[in-house]
């Protein structure tokens, strides 16, 4: 993890000659955000893009803790949810008292809500890092989630609190009624927040956060208090999570206790970790993937959360750097021109691995359909082939795919490791890999 982090921090130095390339990445991202809804203009994809945008800010804010400072939080949704509630209350107040505050500034109020709570609890929470911090964050998360059901006037109980985003003062003639306008509002905040959070990693504070993550003792020796550093990082993470929560409140026009809950905290952890916590762009990939899977899988299967769990376990066990880590592993090989040596072994490993994955999917779906008593269809449609969940043929096929896929995949992955070693040796000889 620390290796990977140093490579990221070295990136701008390598590119200092070509800072134009660095800025062009951000420019391309901005243009993509503007153009996307023009290409995919259906209502469904606009909603997906909006959700993905919110998830990106939320996951990036989480990574200030996990990736930057090494704090594993199980209760990050608290700031997201409180930001959402503050935003909803602010929107209702603006509409009631006719304050001249247009909608685009509401996420900022959400952010202030998030940071306010972070300042309140953060000092006690960040006293210690590691496992203790993880447990405390879990406890605070549960505390806030349970309290939200008791304090009904603030959190609206089970139903939550609704609002109307069009009742606020308009800006540039935009009512923010149509989803397209909300999407552009979210896209604007995604850009601003991503740039701000990236800039944060470049500041001395961002660097000392990395140092606290890697070796708090040495940080103390050079005269910084790791507790204060963790506290500051926690505040920033709470702020950006609050912005994401405020945007979610605008998008759904409701805030309820599910925003604060353990599921939401778990999802953001999944997004940041699956994407890759060691790289700045990792959580962006993770947020896109997790949100997309969440939206896509719910239509296909009733047990989509199980797939999340399995993907997460797989990433933790076999690719702890996440997707970003996997991608960046190949950078030195591409530069050294030895990537071609591993491609054939990948292709070979892909077939049995795919068979294994299909076998697992088929078995899970078979069990799910077999046990679901409510009049659900027993037909599983996998790659266009219908399988009957009650037919023994299906069970045999599933078992064959799992066992056979596993045995063959193990052999082929050994080949991948060998090919990888050879390619890495070449890259090392050419000086692209330490």
């Amino acid at each position: 993890m620390s290796d990977a982090a140093t490579t990221t921090s070295d990136m701008p130095k390598e590119q200092s000659g070509s800072s134009a390339r660095f800025y062009s990445i951000w420019l391309i991202a901005a243009i993509a955000l503007i153009v996307l809804p023009l290409i995919f203009s259906s209502g469904g994809s606009l909603t997906s893009f909006s959700l993905i945008g919110i998830a990106i800010i939320f996951a990036l804010s989480y990574n200030i803790l996990l990736g930057q400072t090494g704090l594993l939080s199980f209760g990050h949704a608290v700031h997201y949810g409180l930001g959402g509630f503050i935003a909803v209350h602010a929107m209702n107040a603006v509409a009631n008292y006719n304050w001249p505050l247009p909608l685009p500034f509401i996420p900022l109020i959400g952010g202030i809500g998030g940071v306010a709570f972070a300042i309140l609890v953060g000092w006690v929470m960040t006293k210690r890092a590691g496992t203790v911090f993880a447990m405390i964050s879990l406890g605070i998360g549960e505390l806030v989630a349970s309290s939200s059901l008791i304090l009904r006037s603030m959190f609206g109980g089970e139903a939550g609190i609704t609002t109307d985003r069009t009742a606020l003062p308009h800006m540039f003639g935009w009512t923010f009624g149509p989803q397209l306008q909300v999407y552009y509002l979210i896209a604007f905040w995604v850009m601003i927040s991503a740039i701000a959070m990236y800039a944060l990693t470049r500041t001395p504070l961002g660097r000392i956060c990395n140092a606290v993550r890697d070796n708090p003792e040495r940080v103390e020796f050079i005269g910084y208090d790791p507790h204060v550093v963790r506290y500051l990082a926690y505040g920033f993470a709470g702020f950006f999570a609050g912005i994401a929560g405020g945007l979610a409140a605008i998008n759904f026009e409701i805030a309820n206790s599910a925003y604060l809950g353990a599921t939401q905290s778990g999802l953001v952890l999944f997004a940041a970790f699956i994407g890759g916590a060691a790289y700045f762009f990792g959580p962006i990939l993770g947020a896109i993937l997790v949100t997309y899977l969440q939206l896509g899988l719910t239509n296909l299967t009733t047990v989509w959360q199980l797939y999340f769990g399995i993907i997460f376990i797989g990433i933790v066990m076999f690719a702890p750097g996440g997707i970003a880590g996997l991608l960046m592993m190949h950078r030195p090989l591409i530069r050294a021109g030895s990537l071609g040596m591993v491609i054939p072994s990948y292709l070979m490993a892909a077939i049995p691995t795919l068979a294994l994955a299909l076998g697992v999917i088929l078995s899970i779906e078979t069990v799910a359909r077999y046990t679901a008593s409510e009049g659900e269809g027993n037909i599983i449609n996998l790659l266009g082939i219908p399988f009957n969940a009650t037919a023994p043929v299906t069970w045999i096929v599933a078992a064959l795919l799992v066992v056979g896929g596993f045995l063959v995949a193990r052999l082929t992955w050994r080949r991948v490791a060998e090919a990888w070693d050879r390619a890495a040796t070449v890259a090392r000889d050419r000086g692209y890999l330490a």
Binding site: I150, M154, V303
Partner: protein, 315 residues
């Protein structure tokens, strides 16, 4: 009032002992491997569901033995094929692995058994009132639960303090490499300890299942309280976990039984104030805040004694 105190004390001690069945395994696993097993409460849930299923097939008494063994086997497999491979990536990866497992186990359980509560009945042999305290019948099954938990507690104590195995386990807690040099298979000790810890959690599930609710969200409900217990008692301290278990068991049981609120103590608020956060706090009963009391305790202990009740180490 006296009746309430007696019954609540009995129930509180019972809940506390159940918590200790779980937290003892969690604490030993933590101090030995440095891993906080997020899936520990999931093993408890697995125990309850295995117990339910086996009771249906072969009866309660065989299930009482078999279900914890099964859960223990699952635990050993998790240690051998999951945690041991993840160890090289550090403690955060191990914690995340158990987090993912907890998530997956909950989904698998609700996929197989559904999301509604199971009809897991108290065995007929124990379904009678044991004694009567002030007109309240105290069920024999609860006495049985208490006896089993205390018996396990005593057995655990004897094994850890008085036997050779216990000696090796205790040594492996602090000096794993030295124990390895003396010729013990530390990996296997870890696996067995993890298995025994999971089996204890499974046993707690089997005996608690009929009395509490057997449902696919039971792990999610109990898990956070369990972590409060071991942080409150001091991470890695077995006596601390014991005291914290009993304390939290008693506090929660008493809080649920009490119906007072600020409004009942000081009279209702002036209705002209209208609904606000203040009226919420004023009218909430102690029974309603029972679920958040453990977390309040957690925050308090972290402010005043960050290492926990009997904890000695900083991390």
């Amino acid at each position: 009032m006296l009746e309430l105190i007696v019954i609540s004390t009995l129930n509180g001690v019972l809940f506390g002992m159940l918590l200790f069945l779980l937290s003892s395994g969690l604490t030993v696993i933590f101090s030995m491997m440095g891993v906080l097993n997020f899936a520990h409460a999931s093993f408890y849930m697995l125990g309850a569901f295995f117990g339910y299923q086996l009771t249906k097939w072969i009866g309660f008494w065989p299930a009482l033995v078999l279900a914890p063994l099964l859960v223990g086997a699952v635990g050993m497999a998790v240690e051998r094929y999951g945690l041991r491979n993840t160890h090289k990536h550090g403690h955060v990866a191990e914690l995340l692995l158990t987090f993912g497992l907890a998530f997956a186990i909950e989904e698998i359980v609700s996929m197989i058994w559904g999301k509604s509560p199971m009809d897991y009945r108290i065995p007929a042999a124990l379904d009678f009132p044991a004694f009567t305290v002030f007109s309240t019948n105290y069920p024999a099954y609860k006495i049985f639960m208490l006896v089993v938990s205390v018996a396990i507690f005593v057995a655990l104590l004897i094994v850890l303090k008085r036997t050779r195995v216990g000696l090796i386990v205790q040594a492996a807690l602090t000096h794993p490499s030295m124990v390895g040099h003396l010729g013990h298979n530390v990996g296997r000790v870890f696996m067995v300890v993890f298995g025994v810890g999971s089996a204890l959690a499974g046993l707690a599930g089997v005996i608690a299942g009929p009395s509490l609710v057997t449902q696919s969200d039971m792990a999610g409900l109990l898990g956070p309280i369990l972590f409060v217990v071991i942080v409150f008692g001091g991470l890695g301290s077995l006596p601390g976990a014991f005291i914290a278990s009993l304390l939290i068991g008693l506090i929660q049981t008493f809080a649920v039984a009490l119906n007072g609120s600020l409004a009942s103590a000081f009279g209702p608020l002036d209705p002209s104030l209208g609904p606000s956060v203040l009226t919420d706090i004023w009218n909430v009963t102690i029974a309603q805040i029972a679920p958040i009391l453990p977390y309040v305790l957690l925050v308090l202990i972290l402010i005043f004694r960050p290492m926990g009740l009997l904890g000695t180490r900083e991390t």
